[in-house]
């Protein structure tokens, strides 16, 4: 999708493409609202949020090759910190530009805390430990309402302050420069800024010394260490970096929703984010972006199943809410069976998947995620 930005034919073409993309992104919420209705602007917001999350997890899983199934814990930490510092729950109302960095810092700290003891673990063992960590955080959020009420338990925290910039509260519908902006529109632009920043950081990281060190560790940890890479610090950095993005996304989510509860931070959320990465093309930024957008939009689009049933059969036979998750599962299976490398894989991965048998076996043997 963003491929043409990589290999522009000429400078002018590149400039034209960027301007076109910028205009499209700026107008998108209004186009979507006109075409599909207000609720789809919210879907768009969520898509951006998931792009940030997926890019964060992509650092850990895609670059460094550390299978993390507890990513949602960092998302939860960011969201809860935002809720604690900007809601009537503790009576604190700090502005979002104070809370968000704090949330990012807290998540990053927990990323290191989780990373440190798990450095020796590999593959599936790492997956199950991170999964356990995610569940522990969720269970604490669910139960820390007695004897001291910290998280308000399963009811969650309500009335979280919306983001306010230059006196404009993003929580209400307002008119600016003669255009009516709803809350979802404001957040779209806010999230877009954060998404673009995340994209920028992700690209810069990928080509940096650290990014290449991550890939080296993913491909062969022993060889990476022999080349003088401090594998311990670099792996910890991957955990911390991924967690920071998770924490930021969590804070944005809390402000956007105005309400959070442990139910938003289950293992399924971690799995969904992982699916976005794998479906799109692991370790490849355009693929990850596409995966995140698709998996956010697809379940929403499947909500129309009720209408289709009514149109085709005259009545709603099966509740669309139940059916859409079923179809989502089917889509995951089909996708993996027919295109396991993802929709937009990196050139290297594509080669690994489609090389001739002998070469493929050799390449796969040197890949962290293949069967030995």
């Amino acid at each position: 999708m963003l491929e043409f930005l990589h290999r522009p034919r000429t400078r002018a073409q590149a400039r034209a493409a960027i301007i076109l993309l910028a205009v499209l992104l700026a107008l998108l919420p209004f186009l979507v609202e006109a075409g599909l209705g207000r609720s789809w602007v919210r879907v768009l917001d969520f898509a951006l949020l998931y792009v940030i999350l997926a890019l964060g997890l992509n650092i850990v899983v895609g670059y460094a090759g550390l299978l993390d199934l507890g990513f949602v814990a960092f998302y939860a930490l960011g969201a809860y910190l935002y809720a604690w510092l900007a809601s009537p729950h503790f009576g604190l109302h700090l502005p979002f530009w104070v809370v968000l960095p704090l949330g990012a810092g807290l998540a990053g700290l927990f990323g290191v805390l989780l990373g440190a003891p798990t450095l020796r673990l590999r593959g599936d063992y790492l997956a199950i430990v991170t999964l356990g960590f995610g569940e522990i955080i969720r269970i604490f959020m669910n139960n820390l309402n007695a004897p001291v009420n910290i998280t308000n338990g399963p009811q969650g925290i309500n009335l979280i302050d919306p983001v306010t910039i230059a006196g404009v509260s993003f929580g209400k519908t307002q008119e600016l420069f003669g255009i009516t902006f709803a809350s979802a529109h404001f957040y779209y632009y806010l999230f877009l800024v954060f998404t673009l920043a995340t994209l920028f950081i992700a690209y810069r990281l990928q080509d940096s010394r650290i990014g290449r060190a991550w890939v080296a560790i993913r491909e062969d940890e022993v060889a990476a260490a022999a080349m003088g890479i401090n594998t311990r610090n670099i792996k910890l950095l991957a955990f911390a970096m991924g967690a920071v993005f998770g924490g930021v996304a969590g804070g944005l989510f809390a402000a956007f929703q105005g309400f959070i509860s442990p139910e938003s931070f289950t293992l399924w959320e971690s799995i969904l984010i992982l699916c976005m990465i794998v479906l799109g093309g692991m370790g490849h930024i355009p693929g990850v972006v596409l995966g995140a957008v698709l998996l956010t939009v697809l379940p929403e689009a499947l909500r129309y199943l009720g209408d289709w049933q009514r149109a085709a059969l005259g009545e709603v036979v099966v509740d669309p809410g139940d059916l859409r998750m079923l179809l989502f599962g089917v889509a995951l299976v089909l996708m993996m069976v027919y295109r396991p490398e993802g929709l937009i894989p990196s050139r290297q991965r594509k080669r690994e998947f489609h090389a001739e048998d002998g070469v493929a076996a050799q390449e796969q043997a040197s890949l962290y995620d293949s069967r030995a």
Partner: protein
């Protein structure tokens, strides 16, 4: 002391169910190095099918002996789950046998979602209750209570595990399974039909899961379309705790996890001065799991795998 014995008993009962489910994970992992995420859902399906059969039979004749009715339920659930697991392997895992490890993990998750939602469509969102038809007697041991159902569950699980042990150690199929787990290529050269062995592994694991599903729903008195998720997670943790791929390890890990959880839930209130209550039971299980893995990354009975050169 009574609390200790009581929780020990509860833990052993729960642990033996965990062990049964954990065996399914560990056998598949031993051969394919695949986390069969859908295994928990197969367990749930076993419970649901059995409950449907039990309901039907009781509807026909409420006078039937409870034990026989449950037995009939189990006997239908086992082949149903076997068929299900066979299909899952064929459709979702076999085409991906040469793909990187994450691909089958995602299909496993996809299958999991499909099964959960299919169960929700068939049996609804509500809890399905397990009729009180099994004879319930309570015995006293060292000041603790133990019901006949608990004894039955532990004995049945032990018997099934002993049977599995014999199957794996003594039969031709078992030998083929062990050979395949060690090296697929060499096993193939020795004339082992790998595809058949892998199918058999899935099917055997599913049979154990069906039994475990019925037992757990009988123990708690209910079943739910979502019950397989947490059960599967715990069982997988148990398998990892014991050393994944190791059959004895799964049994040990299951029992240990059950006991740790029960004791943890029993004492966590006293230990923290009432700050944390027994609803932190799950935290305890995962916390111990993390500790064990940090100090013994290959699990309790797992082989120490040397770092790949």
């Amino acid at each position: 002391m009574d609390i200790f014995v009581q929780q020990l008993i509860n833990g052993l009962v729960l642990g033996s169910i965990y062990a049964l489910v954990a065996l399914g994970y560990t056998m598949v992992y031993g051969i394919l190095e695949l986390i069969n995420f859908a295994h928990g859902e197969v367990t749930m399906m076993g419970a649901m099918v059995a409950l449907t059969v039990i309901g039907l039979l009781l509807g026909l004749n409420p006078e039937l002996s409870g034990l026989l009715v449950v037995l009939a339920g189990v006997l239908v659930a086992i082949p149903a789950c076997m068929l299900l697991a066979f299909t899952i392997e064929r459709v979702a895992y076999r085409p991906l046998r040469r793909a990187p490890r994450l691909a089958p993990l995602i299909t496993a998750i996809g299958v999991s979602i499909v099964l959960q939602n299919a169960a929700m469509l068939i049996w609804g969102r509500q809890y399905v209750s397990f009729p009180q038809i099994l004879p319930q007697q309570t015995y006293e041991v060292l000041g603790a209570h133990i019901t006949s159902l608990q004894i039955f569950i532990v004995l049945l699980c032990m018997a099934v595990m002993a049977g599995l042990w014999l199957l794996v150690q003594k039969t031709r199929l078992g030998r083929a399974m062990r050979a395949t787990a060690q090296s697929k290529e060499v096993a193939m050269l020795m004339g082992v039909d790998i595809d058949r062995v892998i199918s058999a592994t899935f099917v055997i694991g599913a049979a154990l899961a069906a039994i475990a599903g019925v037992m757990v729903s009988a123990y708690y008195g209910l079943a739910h379309y979502y019950m397989g998720f947490m059960l599967g997670l715990k069982a997988f943790s148990a398998a990892v705790l014991g050393g994944i791929g190791n059959i004895a390890g799964a049994m040990l890990g299951g029992l240990l996890l059950g006991v740790i959880e029960a004791l943890g839930a029993g004492y966590i209130g006293d230990l923290t001065g009432g700050f944390l209550g027994s609803h932190y039971q799950d935290v305890f299980a995962f916390f111990v799991l993390i500790l064990v893995l940090v100090f013994r990354p290959s699990g309790l009975l797992g082989e120490r795998v040397a770092t790949r050169a």
